[in-house]
């Protein structure tokens, strides 16, 4: 028999239960659900804007085009039109697919990404849970996504999909390790795995230039680790130059080849949620989470800053997509194992020495 604590550590759930007058275990569970619904929806809306609209607009800006502009202001209503279009399409089930797993795969991708957001501090009370092992939790659930990709690729009964799934595994193994090792160097600085503590560790002033206080964001403290993490993150979310699991011109979209209609939407959403989760991790670990860059701007709510940061990471991925060619699978594995892994360990050791000396 598990006894639930009557108050949680998380201000968002408490605030909701207080606001709605829900108490007792059941009330807590209900308000936790409401809170999760809220956070999930914020991220889904972000992904919804990014997928059909922002991605097109940003790509168009880089390629000197206009892009969607017919429906609504700046073409924003294309989101509605696209949603209707995608959902109204027939769900084609190809012959010979491995049925239960083929249906499960598209659910795993958005699910893993949404789980990750549960522990991200988004400013103010907007954080669902703040476990002591928050950082580990984020990486653990984010990498469930590759299970979904493999299942999707394997069960589709399509050789292109299978190649895509296999590439995704190879890539994830090669890049997850440097990603986590680099994150560990941040943990050394912050001295905690709890994400809220990592954020608050970055609030201290680093240097004062001409009266403007630069906070000690880890991106400024250790830019080398920041760049490493940014590159490894591109591979983690599968964007150029590491979009090889999909590789439209080689594998014809890889593991999503056989998916249509709602299942395609789930994959599509999952991918964008992952881009944002990657952005959220970067923001939390290196960009001070929801904090304002300079204290005079802190009247703007932290949540806005947080959104701004994850959207700029998204913008960065789109920029890379326009400018950088895709590397070959063997070259990517080589860059991952021989380059990034070695560099991330060097970074970890140097950081450890540095932290030890300062302490």
């Amino acid at each position: 028999m598990i006894t639930l604590p009557l108050t949680t550590q998380t201000p968002l759930v408490d605030a909701i239960s207080h606001l709605l007058g829900l108490d007792g275990s059941f009330g807590l569970i209900l308000s936790a659900f409401i809170a999760a619904f809220l956070i999930g929806n914020i991220m889904l809306i972000s992904a919804g804007i990014a997928g059909p609209w922002a991605k097109r607009k940003i790509t168009a800006v880089f390629t000197d085009r206009i892009a969607v502009n017919r429906l609504g202001p700046l073409g924003l209503l294309i989101i509605v039109a696209d949603a209707v279009r995608l959902l109204a399409k027939e769900l084609i089930v190809p012959e010979g697919v491995d049925r239960p797993s083929w249906d499960i795969a598209p659910l795993i991708l958005p699910f893993s990404a949404l789980l990750g957001f549960a522990v991200i501090p988004m400013g103010g009370p907007l954080q669902l849970a703040d476990p002591e092992t928050g950082l580990v939790f984020v990486f653990a659930v984010a990498s469930i996504a590759s299970v979904g990709v493999v299942i999707g690729g394997y069960s589709s009964n399509n050789k292109f999909s299978m190649l895509g799934g296999l590439r995704a595994v190879a890539m994830n193994i090669a890049y997850e390790i440097p990603l986590i090792v680099t994150a560990a160097s941040v943990v050394l600085f912050a001295g905690s795995l709890r994400l809220s503590e990592i954020v608050s560790a970055q609030a201290a002033p680093l240097i004062v230039i001409a009266g403007v206080t630069i906070p000690s964001w880890f991106a400024f403290v250790n830019p080398f680790a920041f760049v490493l993490f940014l590159i490894a993150n591109l591979a983690e979310i599968g964007r150029n130059p590491f979009d090889i699991p999909e590789a439209p011109t080689e594998l014809v979209a890889g593991y999503v080849t056989e998916y249509s209609s709602v299942y395609f939407v789930l994959f599509f959403l999952g991918e964008f949620l992952h881009v944002f989760l990657g952005g959220a991790i970067i923001a939390t670990l290196f960009l001070g989470g929801p904090a304002a860059p300079i204290s005079s701007l802190s009247f703007i709510p932290g949540f806005i800053w947080f959104l701004l940061k994850i959207w700029s990471v998204f913008l960065f991925t789109q920029w890379m997509r326009a400018a950088i060619p895709r590397v070959r699978i063997d070259q990517m594995i080589e860059i991952g194992w021989k380059g990034l892994l070695a560099l991330s360990f060097i970074n970890l050791i140097l950081t450890a020495i540095l932290v030890g000396v300062i302490a």
């Binding site: 800006v61 000197d64 206009i66 920029w319 400018a323």
Partner: protein, 153 residues
């Protein structure tokens, strides 16, 4: 690494200059040069039914039917298969054919893409552009109904 940064800078330069090279089609009229070859316009008044256009047409786009007095009965253009080569205009001895700059037309069925002589006569000039000025000087006789010199080859 420098090369990668250079590429990123080059794309960013394009992103920041705010220029676009695509246009919003129906609102912005695309530039159509005076020589552009579009839908075929046909003048029954000029035609002497010599059938040279029908003979020269490389893929049987033009279909002419004569009555028993060798007078023209039908002049049909299967516009769906026209390749806009302008050979019919070139061989026509009486300038009864001119390819206008009109390129905007649709048809739901194959039958819609067969134009008879009335339809061909009423093919509009594209946005009021007169292609004749750019063609050989003799072609300027086309617009005015049969006045001016006609060049029989």
């Amino acid at each position: 690494m420098i090369g990668i940064l250079q590429s990123m800078a080059a794309t960013m330069k394009h992103a920041l200059d705010g220029q676009t090279f695509t246009v919003e089609y129906p609102e912005t009229v695309p530039h159509v040069s005076p020589r552009f070859r579009g839908v075929h316009k046909f003048s029954q008044e000029r035609c002497i039914w010599c059938r040279q256009c029908e003979i020269v047409c490389p893929n049987d786009t033009i279909e002419i039917k004569l009555d028993d007095k060798r007078q023209g009965e039908e002049y049909n253009l299967h516009i769906g298969q026209c390749i806009y080569c302008r050979l019919c205009e070139e061989v026509c001895p009486v300038d009864a054919i001119v390819l206008t700059q009109q390129f905007e037309f649709t048809g739901d069925t194959k039958g819609d893409l067969v134009y008879n002589k009335e339809q061909l006569k009423n093919v509009p000039w594209y946005k009021g552009l007169d292609p004749l000025a750019s063609r050989e000087p003799t072609r300027s006789a086309w617009v005015g109904e049969l006045d001016g010199e006609i060049d029989y080859q």
